[in-house]
Amino acid sequence: MRVSRLLIVLCALAAPLARGDPLQHEFLLFTSAEFAGTFDRQAPETQVVDEVLKADMLFSLQHGPLKLFGEYLVSDHEGDLERFQLGWQLSDDTIIWVGRYHQPTSVWNHDHHHGQYLQTSITRPAIDEWEDLGGILPQHFTGVLLESSRPVLDAWQLRTAVGAGLAPQLNPEGLQTFNLLHPDSNRRQVGYQARASLHPGEFTESGIGALVADDRLSAVGWNFPPGTGFDDVDLRLYGVFGTYAAAAWKLTATVYYADARLERHESIAASDFIVGCVQAERRFGHELTGFLRWEDSSGAGRSQYIKLFEEFARLGHIAGLRWDFAENQALTLQLSDTHTLNGHFADFRLQWSAAFF
């Protein structure tokens, strides 16, 4: 009811500006099919699923400066409204959103979201993994997001994003996001995120940036036996990142420092860790792209917070080859070597991915 009232008010506000402006729309479908297998397996748990079929649907409606943007992902193991944002285009450079958004301090997810076809590798770095796939950082928030991109220093471009919203809850199954289609009344707290990046042009991916987040997570089901455990997690994240994108090469590097405090009354169990990731991509002839990725961490083994996520990859090496064999369609082969807190495994994956308008 509150949402409908908000929509009516916003439409009324937008009407004078949008007079004579037809409703515009856009629809985009990302699909993928993946087959995976593990070998040399010593870890009791992995994040590898044998087969995954996905259809990621994005839609956008625009009437004057008012915009409605949504993303619904269906796979053979989930169906979820990933993003649902009502936006107001304040100027050419700035838009403010209200709704469920992807938090901007995940470097990988801010660039690729769920668009499997747009990412060269099949998998994303472990630190950027989604909550329902064992991810350790909250990715989906419900609140307000302000995004901007404006020219500075002559030809440079400063891109910024600031968000504040309801954070996921942490229970023994992992991080549980607020579901707009099936809202719950569970205790949730607020998280704040900000990122800024500087780019040598408006249309280039090259650039450097920094990010900071302070997310408070309500913990449920961790008080066993009674009197032990923790009630909340205060997760502070700091990071720097850089990308160099040229015609043949693309290099991306990210370093996160996380300070996770498991709190119960006045007692605090502090645990910090560092996670880094470097990915190199090289384009060859015949629409082939090779890629390598190295993920590493420091302090993950002794972090009380990371111990809550047994499948987290503290060390990983990835190599692969992508073939863009047709318009907006690609085949990708990837080999990975992963070390979790409890063991090691290797895997291979084959994926078909595509984008359809």
Partner: protein
């Protein structure tokens, strides 16, 4: 006889010269609020980025009524290959729900859109619009 041949040749060359003068222009409806658009703004517009005039977004339409307009669009307006352009559009929709420029495949549809949408922006051959009072030329994008 030789003089006649020379005159004929000059006449043919002159005719070809006049006919060969071509230009692609950026156009808006005559009642549009758009006064001028810088080349970088035109590029942003056709890459799907929001461009607002008086608080209302402009609507870019890609004119595909003539195959000869495609290379001019890619080289002079968005300055990238078709595959890079397609990828840029995908990225924009995926990140912020930007709208891809609508493609119009006949000259009649291009003109009909200009007559009906006051926020429309597109490009056409100059020869198709130079005597049309319902359409205003904003700038020359390309000429040979």
């Amino acid at each position: 006889m030789r003089r006649a041949l020379l005159l004929t040749l000059l006449l043919v060359l002159c005719t070809q010269g006049v006919a060969g003068t071509q230009a692609v222009v950026l156009v808006v409806p005559a009642d549009s609020n758009v006064v001028d658009l810088e080349p970088v703004t035109v590029r942003k517009l056709f890459l799907g980025l929001p461009v607002l005039v008086n608080g209302v977004p402009l609507h870019p339409f890609r004119n595909r009524s003539d195959a000869q307009l495609d290379p001019i669009f890619l080289q002079q307006i968005v300055a990238m290959s078709q595959s890079a352009y397609d990828r840029q559009i995908l990225i924009g929709v995926n990140r912020q729900g930007w709208l891809r420029p609508v493609e119009l495949t006949t000259r009649a549809r291009v003109l009909a859109t200009l007559y009906s949408d006051p926020n429309a922006v597109t490009f056409m051959w100059l020869r198709d619009v130079e005597r049309n009072p319902k359409v205003r030329v904003i700038r020359v994008l390309w000429s040979d």
